[in-house]
Symmetry: C2
Subunit: 390 residues, 2 copies
Amino acid sequence: MDNKREVAIVGVGSTPFGEHWQKGLRDLALEASLEAVEEAGIRGKEIQEIYVGNMSGGMFVGQEHVAALAADFLGLNPVPAIRVEAACASGGVALRQGYISIASGLYDLVAVGGVEKMTDVEGTKATSALAGAMDMEWEAYFGTTFPGLYALMARRYMYEYGLTREQLAKVAVKNHFHGSFNPKAHFRNKLTVEDVEKSTLVADPLRVFDCCPMSDGAACVLLAPAEKARNYTDTPIVIEACTQASDTLSLFDRRDICTLDATREAAQQAFSQAKLSPKDIDVAEVHDCFTIAELLAIEDLGFCEKGRAAELYDEGQTYVGGKLPVNTDGGLKAGGHAVGATGIKQIVELVRQLRGEVEKERQVKDAEIGLAQNVGGSGATAVVTIVRRK
Amino acid sequence: MDNKREVAIVGVGSTPFGEHWQKGLRDLALEASLEAVEEAGIRGKEIQEIYVGNMSGGMFVGQEHVAALAADFLGLNPVPAIRVEAACASGGVALRQGYISIASGLYDLVAVGGVEKMTDVEGTKATSALAGAMDMEWEAYFGTTFPGLYALMARRYMYEYGLTREQLAKVAVKNHFHGSFNPKAHFRNKLTVEDVEKSTLVADPLRVFDCCPMSDGAACVLLAPAEKARNYTDTPIVIEACTQASDTLSLFDRRDICTLDATREAAQQAFSQAKLSPKDIDVAEVHDCFTIAELLAIEDLGFCEKGRAAELYDEGQTYVGGKLPVNTDGGLKAGGHAVGATGIKQIVELVRQLRGEVEKERQVKDAEIGLAQNVGGSGATAVVTIVRRK
């Protein structure tokens, strides 16, 4: 986009992630949006368009047409309301659509939200719904589940690169440590490596504490042209890049199941567009639906060579205070995973980190540039976003 | 969008709408896309981004992440693939996103498709899935179905404006007449008013022949900047406007259940943007999910005053050869309604009409300007598109 305008985030909001049995999609969407709207000091009527990331309102609670529901309950009619879906990357993809809307000059104030309710259905039905993110005819039909797919990646990675079970556990331990300081995290308990190792086996080698939970939750960001951002906030955070790439829907079709090519592609485009490199990133939110996924992300984003991510965890470098703090809100693992909302919640966390607003135990000092990676399915969709304090 | 480029449609394709029990979402998407790609004489690899309208792959066949599925099976990775959903307006909303992508200068060749598989599930499950387009908590929970909602509109309209049952039937008769000449229509049988009047009552006053069917099907359009359109086609069709508006999700919340305010709003914006008025339209595709919906559409789009649409049907003016030919492919009623694909199929029909390519019995002579109206739910979302032969 040659004629693009710089895009800023001028307000953010989120619900706690967890079990919200008293709240429907509309209530969660409203709660997150109001926080963002109040922060930016705007009236809702100033919003010109909304995008809503939602993976499966249909299979989880029977509700499609989720963007119209949100626009209605938020009192925003008649603005265009667009639901966007790319499995667990629905939030990231929605953000990219809002980014295009502002960057192109089409609108001057766009709300981008994500929302999901997952805990009101019984377990096997939720697992079936999530299977909709993989290839139903070529994967799910034969009995694969998501933990199963990521277990295949983990097992192959252990074989290729000598990763140990204990190193996998360190990802979960770190994310629960960060999550313990985040009042909006789904889980706030700390874990030890031993806790993870002793937890129930789900799909060998992955144990239950290698897996993120299913959560209810919503998150929202307000986007405006950077040139107008100071009308809304003293600390605008600019989106330097928001890129998306696709890969095969089925895991078996990939050239290498230890690499997410969609992440690599989106990351290369994002760094190129932002004129930055991985070493410039002060804080990262990556898609740790399973512990192995976080290690793959670190590598595919270019933070280290393939096969060497675990070293960063052995050295403690991905904790707040380390070289590359990762998932400072607890990530998906402890922070929670309300699938359609996750990609937006990652941005909310980065914005608050760059503003210096989070709890001191998990605040990255002087963070200026953040990166988020949001993945759909086993990697068929990836969105990479780079944000910067200006 | 001040800096916008003119957008042209340079290739179109569609499957027949109907029962495709041998074909999955991927097969339907491929079939429609290949037709468009071959028509434009491009290689798939030239496509830079894809949008896919799909209402409920999840509830109908368990498959979400439908855009990634399409990109994968069409061999388009790693281009961004975005599924867009707004119930039965999913196709129209996807078109608008593709339109923004080209108009903004972001990309030079974008594919926009719609796809749905509805006939592989048993009836009550399909009805439940469609209920996801209304408000689950405030409408569906209390037992409303879609025929029920439209029956409320029809009954009120009969009371307010003296519409007769026979006039409703004339909408179906006209659409089946047009559909009888369309080889891709779901139903190709002609109907008489008596056939409609004698058909099974579904939700008083609506009978089964007032209701569109559920179909399987897909459709695709290829978009490019108008300045480059002649690289692909001798008869580019330009999108003069593609506008979207929202209304309350629940019918009971509306100021008037005989008017779709979202249609009115989108139409006013579209005519204003295109610098045209309703009398300039040579052919229209409107969202006739039920016969009453077509009458409302004609009025809300501004083709006649509120309460007077039926006169056009009494006079036969909405047939090919009349003043305002409507649903020349049979509409949803006879052409079929593969919900996520319908908004794109409407555009495919308009493009072929403006090119003068359809069967002679249903070809509108010298048609230059066409309009499509695509509705989600009972009117919470509406998209209006105006296209023109250049």
